[in-house]
Symmetry: C2
Subunit: 125 residues, 2 copies
């Protein structure tokens, strides 16, 4: 559930709603050991500049953590979803599902087989 005082449409106004960010978050959510910059770039079909810009915004809001290391003298950037990021993303997904449910009702879409439960749960280790 979203906050009592907020419509689900309001929740969509946060940091996750931009389509490329949704793709980034969706990838990172599945990667408990993080992803390299290159992996994330390839999976999301983004340019260096575009991915960098999104990651900067996501790091500023503490949604991702960025680790820079050297592997055989070559720099490597690894990106991790933070616990806070996971929780916030869950909230966003809940709101999105609520918006989808409302729209489905409006367009009289027929119920299908399943939906998702985005209740907060412990971060995977």
């Amino acid at each position: 559930m979203t906050s009592k005082h907020e419509s689900p449409f309001q929740v969509l106004k946060g940091v996750f709603h931009e389509p490329n960010r949704l793709a980034i978050l969706s990838e990172l959510s599945a990667a408990s050991n993080g992803m390299t910059f290159q992996e994330l770039k390839d999976e999301c079909g983004l340019t260096d500049g575009n991915l960098s810009r999104h990651l900067k915004a996501l790091e500023d809001t503490k949604v991702v953590r960025i680790r820079k290391t050297f592997i055989k003298n070559r720099p490597q950037t690894t990106i991790f979803l933070t616990d806070r990021g996971r929780d916030k993303f869950m909230e966003y997904l809940q709101a999105l599902e609520e918006v989808l449910a409302r729209a489905a009702e409006s367009v009289q879409a027929e119920p299908r087989k399943y939906a998702f439960s985005f209740a907060a749960r412990p971060a995977r280790s």
Copy 2:
């Protein structure tokens, strides 16, 4: 299903994804006889200027039709979802559901009781 050549994230880059527009479309989808400007403004919690701007964009892309009439010498604006608008919104909702399903898989959300079928269907009269 979204186009074979397009990722669902790409489909989200269209005219519907902005949260206020989603609210507008959700309202209009349920209103087969259209809604007045005032009704739409109230339901979506928007200002005159903000709603006007969104409607202009949606009219330009032929998603809505705007009718201006006089009721007892007072101007009244009524907004309708077009058939094209309904079809396009359905496509958007399908993509959104696909994105949600991917995210659910990524965050290991548990299946719940239902989902929606946004298959194209005849516009309601």
